[in-house]
Symmetry: D2
């Protein structure tokens, strides 16, 4: 994690609640009262909805265990019925399951960030509906699970996926151009914990072959959108978006390539924001403390 | 025009034709044979369609009139039945009609570029369906025509617009948030000479209030697209596009404002490209020699 | 101002102080205690320096005058010796003096934002060392002061400038390509209230003709930086920066033009941030609540 | 290579010469006369220097060897004393030597592009002055050469590097945060074939710890520049540049991280442009046919 440069362990709290007096003071006061040192503190108030969102990072001495810190936070915050909160510790890296089919770029990008320590995360497993990326996965000493999906076995295979995710205490699922639609069976237990990436054009093109359509309209920008997966296809809360400029000189194949590289970058940005506990999803959109 | 810094007059040729041997050599050879000096020469070949597009800018001595240059070009190029070409001279600024309703930002932007000489163009008239911008138009000593449109009088009023455009030898119509749909009556005679601007989001939002929808989805980018007007609404050849980054902190009103300023910038960019004769529209897309 | 869409008057507070318990709660508590409604509240803590920065916008009923609001704020906050604060009301637009020489683009941009009401500001005067922009200034019904500067009269003429600024209660000076160096005589009384713009390249080019040098190195980006003016030339706190992409196809003249348009955009962005009271300058850098 | 989607082999020619009549027609005429099919053809004329630059890609039937194509090109073009040209075939991937020290991100990025076939290139070896990245290199089954450098042995070790590069027919050297200065001994034989990356700020900061200086000035953009290595340090022809936006919220450590990721992206972009034979370096700048 970017901020974790000190020796002392760190905790990160994401919290939200209906706005009311003393809310922020209560949270920071509790941390101060324990003698802990706040290292980052951001907030946002939705003044239309009168709702408060915050992210607080603090250091605590290493003679207290993270279990005890969690107990103290729980004892203090659970009294507040209206407060929704989550707590993480930097001695517990985010455990990621990457779902792939044939594209290897996302896997390389994420493996590099995890292995180098740039992300406070580890790829606990790679799940694929095909065998294509087994060798590439094993290159990074990662576990590869081949779970082929047919129309007939989809429900059963998703159960298998779910059992694997739960057995390995997966925190986050990243769909890295996994060419299958994920259903409620996974979305339910992993609400706002499955990240997807898809291309997006200005204007949008309905139907098949979006890059062919984009070429035919002569678009000057190719876009990509990364979002949490919701039950409505490609309509979940957006985490990150970006575009790349293109010209009439680019062929359809080059547009596809430019789009793919952009998607890798945007998916990595969204995953990093999630892994650093900077994202709160609420009412179909995200608050991103960047 | 950016390149017109020399004292000698300049001609700009845009041409396209089915690709064949000797095409480029013929064009540049003709210019050299006249003793004229090429200042810029760009081309693009669509190798799938086997089609050639080029833009050539040259200087000629001021003891030859632009009429004579045109005659020589005409005599040389008109022999080639397959060649489509257009020729402009920098002693003839592009004459622009700006269609407005209530937004003044585009008018200021374009007035500044024309008055300062940055664009080789002049605003020959402002046409509006409302009176709102009369004073702002007259501030720049520009002609303001109020042509109110109702369902009943639309056909008749479009005839009036067309007569004005033709009487004043208008080269280019810029729809600067003109809140009326322009019909075939104008589009026909001004094919690829009417530029429009509209917002565009990733993903696109169908229906009304796109900024409200964009806010609700928590988009991280606001976009704008400028294009030539075609008979199908908002589906003409795209000239320029850009995006502006936004965050959850921005209200709907702020998104609208950010979008408006982006639109001003993108419309100005598209108009500049047209005024500098850098755009060839073909088969629903544009070749932009930037 | 983007947020001022309600009918009730608004106040904006920028404040900073050494970090300590209860600081934020004290500020928001005071506003709540008066029964006023917070519309925006952002903060940033510099955890290395243990320093707190905040921006709070609130609405108050129009049966209280802004004078009374200021008195209550003053009574409450002035007790705190360590707190630095500033307060603005949206019935008092920021009064801007624009210093120009020959370039008119910035003037058009700012006039448009002020006249349209997009910025909560007014151009109270234009000061120039030359006569060139008198007509353009008067086009917008703005006061134009010609104050020519020579080596001999510089001190005296700066006194004259200062008297004008003070007589007209100027809040902000914008140097819009004013081709004179401003000295301590103005910088002193207008600390962090004079905004300048200059080009900036990657890499930087020392000496004269930076665009010629940039062309010769074949830079792919042209940059612009807007900052508060400090006594060390071009070294004041940076407010906004941006770049524009360029290619080998652009001549020196085109690079200059692209740079100028970028500068207009970046200077407008910086001025808007200041006018919306979003910037706190501290220790040579800025905290920008965007 | 982006364009190499057809089954027929392809040749890419980069050529430049003093501008004169018939130059372009001669080149394309020669290709047509052989019955080969042009797939991409771009050019640029420096009208100030009267110099012509071009890139032509064509397909030829697979019953002709690339050796024979080269002989025909050589026979045709070598008659022209003033023409400088280079020819590549897509059955001969660019052989890259990557020089590293401790940073692994560039290696992952380049390995992914080469292994996936996205780049028409192969990493023939990794050279390092340290052992740190041996395991990461071998993960991709690449040859790792540890060549430690001291002040005493630098000349001798550079000879060793040079022998390795020549023995393995290296086309391109990429300095991927190699923490040693490369001298004329390598630059001479690899003129415009050594690519480097470095951070660049607006404004530039002389001396040590540029990110600390950037933080202290509160820059809003972090930049990176990739260029060919010339004898003057960091002054070679620029190939690609980009920036990333930052805010006051980012610590020095985060600025460093953002800079590193940007550098990875810009170095990859520059290397891709070189590998696709899109870059001609001339007089200290580059012509990039993108």
């Amino acid at each position: 994690m970017a901020e974790a440069r000190q020796n002392d362990p760190r905790a990160t709290l994401l919290a939200s609640a209906p706005l009311r007096m003393g809310l922020a003071a209560g949270l920071t006061g509790f941390i101060h009262a324990n003698g802990w040192r706040i290292r980052a503190h951001d907030h946002w108030v939705d003044h239309d909805e009168e709702y408060y969102f915050t992210r607080i990072v603090w250091e605590f001495p290493d003679d207290i265990s993270s279990i005890e810190v969690r107990e103290r936070v729980d004892a203090s915050l659970s009294k507040d019925q209206q407060l929704t909160w989550q707590l993480w510790f930097d001695n517990q890296p985010t455990r990621i399951a990457v779902f792939v089919t044939r594209e290897m770029a996302h896997l390389y990008e994420m493996a590099m960030h995890c292995i180098s320590g740039l992300w406070h995360a580890e790829i606990a497993m790679v799940i694929s509906n095909r065998e294509d990326l087994r060798a590439e996965t094993e290159r990074f000493n990662l576990m590869f699970h081949h779970i082929p999906i047919t129309e007939a076995n989809k429900a059963e295979q998703e159960n298998k996926q779910l059992r694997l995710l739960q057995a390995e205490n997966i925190d986050l699922v990243v769909l890295a151009r996994y060419m299958q639609i994920v259903t409620d069976k996974l979305i339910g237990p992993f609400q706002n914990r499955i990240i997807n990436i898809h291309h997006s054009m200005l204007p949008a093109f309905a139907g098949a072959k979006p890059y062919h359509q984009a070429y035919k309209r002569g678009v000057k920008l190719i876009g990509a959108t990364s979002h949490y997966v919701s039950e409505e296809l490609d309509a979940g809360p957006i985490i990150a978006q970006d575009v790349a400029p293109v010209t009439h000189r680019k062929s359809v194949e080059e547009l596809v390539q430019i789009g793919r590289q952009l998607e890798t970058r945007v998916l990595a940005r969204a995953t990093k924001l999630h892994v650093e506990h900077r994202v709160i999803a609420v009412s179909g959109r995200t608050v991103v403390f960047d």
